[in-house]
């Protein structure tokens, strides 16, 4: 037992930090936080284990949810379905899963692993599979290393569970989403079964602690009247790309994803400049005065300029004053295999990925 114990009162910070790393996507984390707080109050604190200390013979799977956040705020989870999905995987494997992991930081999926870990009394690995949020199952660093999402388990509140094995991760995404719709547009999910060695190779270390730290940083900087947005940028080794005012938000749906863009007019030193941020659930590309200054898989983070509260794509609205930060993604995303999964071309852009530090290098930190 090497981890630190995380209580219910830490989850507000985790949720705030996850919304920062969620780069506009994942929906509002409030529901996930309330579920996790209740699970911890009922079952006790969660043991958070550093990635480096997970033994080789560990066997872990992620725990989270799939579906429409709009439905998730109405048909609330019971929390049991997340346990059922995790258990269904164990049943399929015929082995006990020793650890719970987090699939992505951002939205409720960063909090739901706490629900399962608390319920089952299993340690939670302080890591996630993206270092940010992405909309589809195959967009995950383990996938770069050939780890399959399947066997994957889905569960609903009715007692239905489905264990899926699929030809590849893209099939998994399609079939799992179809099942999710039948389950009423939200489902609990467990996937990406890995042993300790695979976990250490493919996960992004320390991201749950980083979420908590970012949450604390925002609150503390605000209390000390410091520039909280700059503190966040510095902590992530990122660049302040722009300060501006939202002057246009366009949204449309394409193949079930909320795509759109926001246009910002510059404030202060960016006065006279314009920044455009495109999104597909998460922020994809930032273009300043016609030049790309950050692109997926790097993190494009939009914060309220005054409070440094993260702003999701649903919350973007005309008149908001925001700070846009570009932060480097996990280096593994920058490999050929990583960019094949989540590079700009995957999202329909006709340009190659260039790291944010090269693009925004001229921007003062």
């Amino acid at each position: 037992m090497t981890g630190r114990r995380v209580g219910a009162d830490a989850l507000r910070d985790v949720a705030r930090g996850a919304a920062i790393l969620g780069t506009g996507g994942g929906g509002n984390p409030t529901i996930g936080r309330l579920l996790a707080e209740r699970a911890i109050r009922e079952h006790g604190p969660v043991e958070l284990v550093p990635l480096g200390e997970v033994p080789d013979d560990a066997l872990a799977a992620d725990a989270g949810g799939m579906g429409a956040p709009t439905v998730g705020v109405e048909k609330l989870a019971s929390g049991d379905e997340h346990v059922h999905a995790f258990r269904a995987l164990e049943g399929h494997l015929g082995r006990r899963l020793t650890h719970v992991v987090c699939g992505e930081v951002g939205g409720s999926n960063s909090l739901l692993p706490f629900v399962v870990a608390a319920h089952l009394g299993r340690p939670l690995v302080d890591a996630d599979a993206m270092g940010r949020a992405f909309p589809e199952l195959q967009m995950s660093i383990p996938a770069i290393y050939g780890v399959r999402a399947t066997p994957l388990a889905l569960a609903d509140q009715q007692g239905n569970t489905v264990v899926l094995t699929a030809a590849d991760n893209r099939w998994t995404e399609r079939i799992a989403r179809a099942i999710t719709i039948e389950m009423g547009c939200t489902a609990a999910l467990s996937s990406y079964v890995m042993d300790g060695r695979q976990l250490r190779q493919t996960m992004v270390a320390g991201t749950l602690s980083l979420c908590q730290e970012l949450g604390q940083l925002v609150v503390a900087s605000r209390a000390r009247h410091q520039d909280a947005c700059q503190r966040v940028a510095d902590r992530l080794g990122g660049h302040r790309l722009f300060d501006g005012r939202v002057v246009d938000v366009g949204r449309r749906t394409e193949t079930g994803f909320a795509r759109g863009h926001a246009a910002l007019d510059g404030l202060d030193r960016w006065s006279g400049s314009r920044l455009r941020v495109d999104f597909q659930n998460e922020h994809l590309v930032a273009v300043r005065d016609g030049e790309v200054v950050a692109a997926v898989p790097d993190l494009i983070i939009i914060l309220d300029r005054e409070t440094a509260e993260p702003i999701t794509t649903e919350e973007l609205r005309y008149g908001s004053r925001v700070t846009v930060i570009g932060a480097p993604c996990d280096p593994r995303w920058r490999s050929a295999g990583g960019l094949e999964l989540v590079g700009p071309r995957v999202f329909g852009y006709d340009f190659d990925y260039v790291p944010v530090e090269a693009l925004a290098g001229g921007t003062a930190r």
Binding site: T70, A77, S78
Partner: protein
């Protein structure tokens, strides 16, 4: 507004706004304000209204029978929740099992409110999916056990919330029927009549509503007593927070709908007085400035959860941006940076501001020194450094204009309507404003907003476009919203659709959209006999 009859003068209307500090009243005929009156709000509801009516009659004599309608806006219910007082124990019944049990009702409520309402929480089977399929059939035997429990404990009010009630309200309605049959004395509030999609926020609003029902009965009785006692026999209406009216019977059942009607009335009144339908309204009081946007004559509503007394809700509220800046704001000249507010001398402007011989330099003093206002004794601020006065007034203007900018819905400059006693802090122009309007009667804009209010109807639901076209779904929603406006008392010919909102659901390949449609129309008023 008023449907004038074919013959004779248009009927009279009286608008009253009972605020925390003042009760304002106006007497109107058509678009004309015949009399206005302002009096301190009294703890005795009846007395306050009677005083206001007498005040109006003293300015412009009128016969009680000439009045065709009385509209009243009140903060009583908001204050009851904020103070956790005068609310009754309430049973919170949620229909949604086996879903939703991970976050029970009244999670994250402030302790005083939880204690006041008791913790009578019931989770039962029921509710439906986003497409109307049942999550689980309503278990009537289970509901009967809850009814028996509520009766045994003597709980006077219940709040029923089923999952996706905005899509199908059948389970809530059946549950309400079971209560009506077995416990007719218990007042029942159903969530589909109160809030929109978002279970926790809608449930919270429904529980608050249920707990305020008894108080609503007492307050509306008192209001009616006052109006009837004055000899007025015309219908009485209560202001809702979206700027429309409801009847007294409706108010007894939905007191929550009055929340935040004060700022809404103020904005609607400002729009009426200025003739602007799309504009920003700046309401500057003694301590704060509130800015909101009017779209087609109605306040733009907040899209995110709104917290009332520490409880997250999602009912219809105007989207206001506020700062701590008003006529009484304290000015700190400071060696480096000039600062104004958020501390304020508040209602003590008279003894404490420099122009009234007091020691404190306030924003009003700057306005007087700068020649924008004539209040108190201008000689007392004649010695102020002109650079300080100019910088201070510039700062005030910059801060208000930033608020106006945040309230805007598009890039075009908006007309700005100024109301409130503190509006003397501003000059004749404001950056980002196409024009600045200071209407007459600005001090009683809220009472005027109540007097001119219309009635409305709303539909908010998630629809699947798998089986039908988007146009068909939108048409149906439009028709239903219009029908609801007529049911609320609008003349059919006057009903118009003022808002259509369509939000696609993310992360799903299906064609589900959330549709929200709002209709309003003129209140049908009988010609005075």
């Amino acid at each position: 507004m008023v449907e004038a009859g074919a013959a004779g003068p248009a009927p009279l209307r009286i608008g009253v706004d009972v605020g925390g500090t003042n009760t304002d009243a106006v007497l109107m005929r058509d678009r004309a304000v015949l009399a206005a009156h302002k009096t301190p709000t009294t703890p005795d509801v009846t007395l306050g209204i009677v005083t206001a009516l007498r005040g109006l009659a003293a300015v412009e004599a009128f016969g009680p029978h000439e009045v065709a309608a009385v509209m009243i806006g009140t903060t009583h219910f908001t204050n009851a929740v904020v103070e956790a007082r005068r609310l009754t124990p309430t049973a919170a019944i949620r229909l949604g099992l086996p879903a939703t049990s991970g976050i029970p009702p009244m999670t994250e409520w402030p302790e005083p409110l939880r204690r006041t309402l008791g913790e009578h929480i019931y989770l039962c089977r029921g509710g439906c999916e986003f497409d109307g399929r049942p999550i689980a059939p309503l278990d009537e035997a289970e509901v009967q056990r809850v009814v028996a429990d509520v009766v045994r404990l003597g709980i006077p009010a219940v709040a029923i919330t089923s999952v996706f009630a905005p899509v199908s309200a059948a389970d809530e309605q059946r549950c309400a029927e079971l209560f009506a049959a077995a416990a007719p004395g218990v007042s029942v509030s159903c969530s589909h009549e109160i809030g929109r999609v978002g279970l926790l926020e809608r449930e919270n609003a429904t529980i608050l509503n249920a707990s305020a029902r008894q108080l609503a009965g007492q307050i509306t009785d008192a209001l009616e007593r006052a109006v009837r006692g004055f000899g007025i026999t015309a219908p009485l209406y209560i202001s809702q927070n979206d700027g429309t009216l409801m009847g007294v019977e409706t108010c007894r059942r939905y007191p929550i709908a009055t929340f935040s009607s004060g700022p809404t009335n103020s904005m609607r009144g400002a729009a009426f007085l200025s003739g602007e339908r799309d504009c920003a309204v700046v309401d500057i009081g003694g301590t704060t400035t509130d800015v909101g946007a009017l779209v087609h004559g109605f306040p733009r509503e907040a899209s995110l959860a709104v917290t009332v007394g520490g409880v997250r809700t999602n009912f219809r509220m105007p989207d206001l941006v506020s700062i701590g800046l008003g006529g009484g704001s304290v000015v700190h000249p400071g060696p480096q940076a000039l600062r104004i507010g958020p501390e304020s001398v508040g209602y003590e402007l008279e003894p404490r501001a420099r122009v009234f011989g007091g020691p404190t330099l306030t924003a009003t003093d700057l306005a007087v020194a700068g020649g924008l206002a004539v209040v108190g004794d201008p000689a007392r601020v004649a010695g102020l450094e002109p650079a300080l006065v100019a910088a201070g007034l510039q700062l005030i203007e910059a801060r208000v204009s930033e608020l106006v900018d945040r309230a805007r819905t598009g890039p075009e400059p908006l007309p700005v309507v100024l109301v409130g006693g503190g509006s003397v802090l501003l000059g004749q122009a404001l950056p980002g404003a196409s024009r600045v309007v200071r209407p007459a009667h600005y001090a009683v804009a809220n009472a005027i907003g109540a007097a001119i209010a219309q009635v409305g109807g709303e539909v908010d639901r998630i629809v699947s476009l798998a089986a039908r076209t988007r146009e068909a779904a939108l048409d149906e929603a439009r028709r239903e919203a219009a029908a609801r406006a007529v049911a609320a008392g609008a003349t059919a010919a006057s009903v118009e659709i003022v808002e259509v909102e369509e939000v696609p659901l993310a992360y799903l390949p299906g064609n589900a959209v959330r549709i929200r449609v709002r209709a309003v129309g003129d209140l049908t008023l009988a010609q005075a006999p």
